[in-house]
């Protein structure tokens, strides 16, 4: 029993990450669009799990609410509206398979070289300090005091994004 606990506490994060990658691959490879969305939903929930394992419970909650709750619903709505059928002949593979495989391999190798060649220093103390007393409280405290200005500007951004969307639907000749 003790061995099981220690196994999970040490490796749960990696198991979660592995399953996340699997579901993410499922998003791309399933032929049925609804299956893709369900796989995406699983991916989002698993990512929230990763955040939880990393002691970032606030981001985990936001991830569940915004992505799993909101964005996936939008995806489902869109699917129902455009009525993608699974028997439709979708061309899932383009003709550049070899080239893109080569490029991806090159990218992975380059990233690996940079990653393993970089001597990462220890994390600065300030980063770990923030997490004391629960991340939700810490995030709230920082967000509404030191970062209140960017917070307000983000609200302008959201408003303007809506105005921009409205502008793009304006009718011609009826100004």
């Amino acid at each position: 029993m003790e061995a099981l606990v220690s196994f999970f506490s040490n490796y749960m994060l990696y198991i979660l990450m592995g399953v996340t990658i699997l579901t993410a691959v499922g998003v791309v490879y399933s032929k049925n669009a609804v299956h893709s969305v369900v796989a995406l939903l699983l991916t989002m929930i698993l990512v929230a799990g990763i955040y939880l394992m990393l002691d970032a419970e606030f981001i985990a909650a936001v991830q569940l609410l915004v992505y799993a709750g909101g964005i996936i619903v939008l995806f489902v709505f869109m699917l129902l509206l455009v009525a993608l059928h699974k028997d439709e002949a979708l061309r899932l593979f383009n003709t550049y398979t070899l080239i893109s495989l080569g490029l991806v391999a090159f990218l992975v190798i380059m990233l690996a070289v940079v990653f393993f060649g970089t001597p990462f220093g220890p994390a600065p103390a300030t980063v770990t300090n923030i997490v004391k007393g629960g991340s939700t409280e810490a995030v709230a405290g920082t967000l509404y005091s030191a970062y209140i200005l960017p917070f307000e500007i983000a609200s302008i951004l959201l408003l303007v994004a809506m105005v921009g969307a409205i502008v793009l639907t304006k009718e011609r000749g009826k100004s």
């Binding site: 940079v114 970089t118 001597p119 990462f120 220093g121 994390a123 600065p124 103390a125 300030t126 980063v127 405290g141 920082t142 005091s145 030191a146 970062y147 209140i148 200005l149 960017p150 500007i153 983000a154 302008i156 951004l157 408003l159 303007v160 994004a161 105005v163 921009g164 969307a165 409205i166 502008v167 793009l168 304006k170 011609r172 000749g173 100004s175």
Partner: protein, 479 residues
């Protein structure tokens, strides 16, 4: 944690936001009110400009004016660039008025989204915190995507907007990634704290590289320029005028501030990267501009090459270089507003007549327009006695003083190449016959803007000392 809010520093943003809300609300009102949207937008920009110049500028000394521990920071440098952005905005509003009426597609929300973009630029310029840099960049870009795609019934406009959106989103991702790495390495987002950190960690280099890429995207530097020609061509011409000046000034200005005052210890590292970027940008921009058939698209590529000259100024790494860049930007604002302003008048109904073939004989049929366009073209080419020459002169002089003789030569070579395609416009206007007679409506407001720009281009070219002095002060007090 206590936060001291300085209302004087916050006021320009509040004024601009009031403008956004008002113009957005006007979209729901009756037509007679809607027509005033451009006026309201211009007034809010002018008011913000007045506030910055009258209330904030006197309060700045050798130390910057701060609010909320550096979230808002006004220095001479950032006020100079804010001034450029706000003046460009008013000019663009004045030009849009006629353009949108001719297009018969004028909505108050158009001004609201442009005002939002201006607010984003103000946030991005007047700060010493990376969070505001990022969120300002988003507020700058997202409304711009919408304003490029504003003429949504035109395929080019939608294409430009979509390209700009997708590539711009990737660029924002790069910037956010870079900022995250800098945060990981230093534990802070505040410029002043980051300067003090010893930068031995490799994360700093990686983060700086990503930030450089993100901002180079916005400045349309090669190889991150792919979106620029399509977006510039697809957008309504006054929007193009605005886009070719303001975001570029902001991207270059913020880049200088980050490189010079946050990462001065890594100068040897970023200098090489900027050097390569600037050479590529000048060469590709100039040579691609030669083969264009449309004047608007040619000006898009030319604005890429001008970003290259500006990047060259960054390589100099001296106060002289920065003041050269600031002077260049001030002059470039006048010239580009004018050049795109002339193009915005060549419009009948839905159609823009902006290809080389279309502008044949314009110089005879519309003498005033011909003179204006010639002034702007000579100035872009860097012919002496115009502000374009003085700008290039200052930048190249700073390069030579910093022992970058060969880089200055590349720049001079680039501007020699550019003479060909700029003068081609003048040749087409004066030395070719146009078989088709077109009746363009020369709007008074737009013509006034053009007249002011062309007079100032000549005046600042003959007597550059005053602007150069201001630019010099601005360059000296960056923090």
């Amino acid at each position: 944690m206590n936060v001291t809010v300085n209302m004087t520093a916050l006021m320009p943003l509040i004024i601009l936001f009031a403008g956004i809300s008002l113009t957005a609300l006007m979209g729901t009102m009756k037509d007679s009110v809607k027509r005033l949207a451009g006026l309201v937008a211009s007034i809010s920009v002018v008011f913000a400009f007045w506030w910055v110049m009258e209330r904030i500028l006197p309060a700045i000394g050798t130390a910057a004016m701060e609010s909320q521990s550096g979230m808002l920071t006004y220095s001479y440098y950032s006020v100079f660039l804010s001034g450029i952005v706000l003046i460009t905005a008013v000019a663009a509003f004045a030009l849009s008025e006629h353009y949108l009426l001719e297009e018969d597609f004028s909505h108050p929300e158009f001004y609201a989204i442009l005002l939002a973009s201006i607010t984003g630029m103000m946030v991005m310029l007047n700060t010493s915190n990376f969070v505001n840099i990022f969120i300002g960049l988003e507020l700058l870009s997202i409304p711009l995507y919408a304003s490029v795609a504003y003429l949504r019934y035109k395929p080019e406009s939608v294409e430009g907007g979509l390209k700009y959106f997708i590539l711009g989103a990737i660029a924002s991702g790069f910037l956010a990634y870079g900022i995250a790495m800098i945060y990981g390495a230093s534990g802070s987002l505040d410029f002043i704290t980051i300067v003090k950190t010893v930068k031995t960690d490799s994360l700093f280099r990686l983060g700086l590289l990503f930030i450089l890429m993100g901002l180079a995207f916005k400045a349309a530097a090669v190889p991150f320029h792919m979106w620029a020609p399509d977006a510039y061509e697809g957008a309504a011409t006054p929007v193009t005028a605005f886009m070719s000046i303001a975001p570029k000034a902001v991207a270059i200005g913020v880049l200088i501030r980050i490189l010079y005052s946050v990462f001065p210890q890594m100068v040897d590292y970023w200098r090489e990267a900027v050097l390569v970027l600037s050479i590529l940008t000048v060469i590709v921009g100039n040579f691609a501009a030669i083969v264009q058939q449309s004047v608007k698209r040619m000006l898009a590529y030319s604005s890429i090459s001008h970003a290259g000259y500006l990047l060259m100024g960054i390589v100099a790494y001296s106060v002289e270089g920065v003041s050269g860049i600031l002077f260049y930007l001030a002059g470039y604002m006048l010239i580009n507003t004018g050049a795109f302003g002339v193009l915005s008048l060549l419009k009948i109904g839905d159609d823009d007549f902006v290809s080389y073939d279309d502008i044949r004989g314009i110089g005879y049929r519309y003498p005033l327009l011909g003179i204006f366009m010639s002034v702007f073209m000579f100035s872009l080419a860097g012919i002496p006695a115009t502000v374009g020459f003085m700008g290039k002169f200052y930048v190249f002089k700073a390069l030579i003083h910093a022992n970058y003789m060969s880089l200055a030569l590349v720049g001079i070579g680039g501007s020699l190449v550019s003479v060909y395609y700029y003068l081609r416009v003048v040749v087409h206007m004066y030395m070719k016959e146009n078989p088709e007679e077109r009746k363009f409506n020369l709007n008074f407001l737009s013509m006034t803007v053009l007249a002011i720009c062309s007079v100032l281009v000549i005046a600042a070219g003959l007597f550059p000392a005053k602007i150069a002095d201001i630019a010099n002060v601005a360059a000296r007090f960056m923090n």
